[in-house]
Amino acid sequence: MAEVRCPMCSKPNPEEAEVCGICGARLKPLIIDQPPQEQPPDKSEERRPEQGVEQEEGLDWLGRIRAEAESEAPKEEIEPEETADEAVSPDWLGRLREVDTTEDEGPPDGEVPDWLSAFSEDVGEVGEPEAAEPGWLERIREIKATKAAEGEEEAEPVDDWLARLREEQELIPEDLGADEIIPEELPLPAETLAEEEVEEHVISPIEPMDLSLEPSEIAPSEAMADKEAPPEPRDILPDLTEAAPPVTPSEVELPSEVVGEAEEAAERVDEFETPIEDELPHVPALILDEGEETIGEQPSGIDLDSIELPGWLSELRETAPPEEVPAEDTSLDLAPATLPSWLEAMRPIATFRSAVEIESVDEQVVESAGPLAGLQGVLMAEPVVAMPRAATVGAARLEVTERQYAQAELLHRMVEEEERERPAAAAHRPRVPYLRWAIGFLLVIAVALPTILSFRVGEGFPLPSYMPRDLESLFKLVEGISLERPVLAVFDYTPGYAGELNAVAGPLLEHIMLRGLRVVTVSTRPTGPLLAEGLLSRVGVNGEGYVHLGYLSGGPIAVQLFAAAPRETISRGFLLPGDMESQSGWQSPILEGVSQLSDFGLVVVITAGTDSARTWVEQAYPWRGETPLVMVLSVGTEPMIRPYYEALEPQVDGILTGLPAAVNYEQYLGRSGNAIARWNAFGTGMLTIELILLAGVIYGAALWLLRPRAVETRSERDG
């Protein structure tokens, strides 16, 4: 079944549909069909569509004019693409489309526009509506009456009213009467139009014209208004509509020349002081009734000379040779729609369907809606200009990739989480450190008991009898130091490690001082000199056995500077003896003859930090020459410094680390010092730690043995 496209939304609809099923727009214009005698002479009379009229909207009155112009040309019928329903369009434009086919063609008496009144000059005098009716109009009405009597709607023979107008061009119709003009019934005087003009005019696309003319500008064309004239145009132009039937040119497809001239006529209308009443020529109906001839191949060569033209139009024609006009005019009017370049550039390409299609005559679609129904190659005025086009589904589809979708979902989830209320945090219960309490209690008891008991018993853990090999080499090293050269002792540890390092370094320093060697102390820490004084004051006398150079500020830079130029680095001592208070430590006799690092007999670095030990090893290594370097280290630091010791060319010549080594040293010296005093407590503390860790291993093993069974049991139950 053939389909009809809606002019509004471009959706296909059944052929017989009157209204679009998607948007509700009217697919077929309403046709006004009313017999001329029934037309009231009153100017304010509105056209009323004849009920039961089924009139094709595709019939073009001008086409019929062309058809009639060819007296020998076969009248071809253009089958309407769609039938017009009786339904009244909601707007005034729609109501204009309703044409009463029974009405006589032509404007009512006194309602012919001015430009048509000019046409009527050729036709003849226009007298009173009833009295000045031209012959051609009478013939039209007779035909209509015959049809009505027969009860058939026959296609009104194309009556070239323009041709008839031309025949009677000397007559100036002043008043064409109050008959309503039915465009489709307008007799087209075929002989008045050249065949080629008509044919070209009808078949070829017509140049786009400004159809949005204001009613005031189209006063002359109102002579071809439908039966039912909308109140608005009449209200807007009461004077003009009184003279002419209310027909808007937007519903009428006029030749471009005619429209252009109509525009000029509209301008002239404004100049008219008095409206023309009852003197306008009767313009035949523009919309044909059903059965009437539709516009097919239009007779070409409409002879405009035969058309009753208004005066101004006739004046224009007088200036141009009539022979030339057809050819040029047809080329202008009926030439294929060659859009001017500027308009072609404005032509939308992809957004919506092009309303202008330059196609061949055979392929052109016949307009089936609106007042231009029946015409070929017309522009889709309404959907393009008047009504917005609804967006299609395809145009609204958005391509989204999976990644974009996932990101959008993530963002949506984040926003949702922000809005979600979080449950109030449970009150924080202070966690009781049972494990720390237990271990702390055990360790304190383990350390305190031997400390208290040994005070009384004096027995406890046996002293180590195994002498590490490192200690033997250290003994030999200290024993081999020259007594003339002092020993540089670097106290680079914090007071926190004083409990361990004082006990470990004590035997070594005691050994050194017992040999008669003098000690010079220095430190890169502010508390180093104090710690040195606390340790050395137990075994020697300040100023005689040892002297403090003081504090070196600057970390590795100070060590490097001291190694390169000791005397220039420290100019002031620390806790110098009474007779040297205002002097520099370098003035002490202990440092006599010492100007560089290699002048010392031994360098002892006492430290608990890996960085400090490594700094002294790295910075002092190039400057100490043959002077041995001994490290007294905390037990935890030993592994990182031992590589300097375990080498073919060791950078560290001796290591003393840990309480056991200190106990061994004290045993070697035969003196009981702090190391031995802390041995028992050290033993119990170490034993307690070992037992605690062992308990941890057992606990962890028990957890590991028990947990898998519980999981398996649960899984078996669940299974």
Partner: protein, 241 residues
């Protein structure tokens, strides 16, 4: 314990109280612990400032300025020893205020540059080259060949130790090498040899950290013993009068 003077007695009791206050942290964070710690920080900071002034700033900046006088400052020999250091220090003092902080960048740049050079030079000459040579010299003929009078088992132990030492050094270094090639599938993986070496290196690192941890435990036990003994001594001296 030696006879204590009154001042010493007060100080000793104070020290004992502070020791107990700090050890009370075993029960949990409390007022006494915090009081003792804040007191310690104040005293330590004050002492550090005083000894830095006494041992470094005064003899290096103030004393030359005072001893030379204004006339002596302008001598060319004092430009390097007095004027320039003073200018640098004045610029450094501008760091105190945010408005003038940007002008104190020059002395900091000098400090950073010299410090970086010292660290680099010491690392190259003191660790990188000697330790690399030591690692390379682990399996030298002098090491591998038995020494005169050395027992077989001792020689064998020395060989094994040398091999383990070298293996530990190499594999530990390889563990810290995280450069990998990207395969065709896009996954970055080290070669199989590197991965095996890294696993072995992890073993040696675990052993090293185990020794360090045990040593730290042993050291802190001695420190705890010293503190307990101090408390015992204080109590006993107080009891004995």
């Amino acid at each position: 314990m030696a006879e204590l003077t009154t001042l010493d007695l007060v100080g000793t009791i104070t020290a004992a109280l502070l020791t107990v206050m700090v050890l009370s942290y075993l029960l949990g964070d409390n007022l006494f612990f915090r009081l003792a710690v804040y007191l310690f920080i104040g005293v330590a900071a004050g002492y550090a400032g005083s000894i830095a002034w006494y041992n470094v700033i005064w003899p290096g900046l103030i004393d030359p300025l005072v001893s030379q006088g204004l006339a002596g400052i302008l001598q060319p020999s004092n430009i390097v020893t007095i004027i320039v250091p003073w200018l640098l220090i004045l610029l450094l003092l501008l760091k105190v205020s945010p408005a003038t902080s940007r002008y104190g960048g020059l002395p900091l740049a000098l400090l950073v540059g010299v410090g970086a050079a010292v660290v680099v030079g010491g690392a190259i000459t003191g660790t990188l080259i000697p330790q690399s040579l030591a690692a390379m010299g682990t399996l030298t003929p002098s090491t591998l060949l038995p020494q005169a009078g050395e027992e077989i088992i001792v020689w064998f132990e020395r060989i094994i130790s040398a091999i383990i030492l070298l293996l530990a050094t190499v594999t530990t270094l390889m563990y810290f090498r995280f450069t990998a090639r990207r395969s065709a599938t896009g996954e970055a993986r080290r070669s199989k040899l590197e991965r095996i070496a890294a696993v072995i290196g992890q073993v040696f690192i675990a052993i090293t950290f185990g020794v360090i941890y045990a040593g730290a435990l042993a050291a802190t036990v001695v420190i705890l013993v010293e503190r307990i003994q101090f408390l015992r001594d204080v109590v006993s001296s107080l009891l004995t009068g």
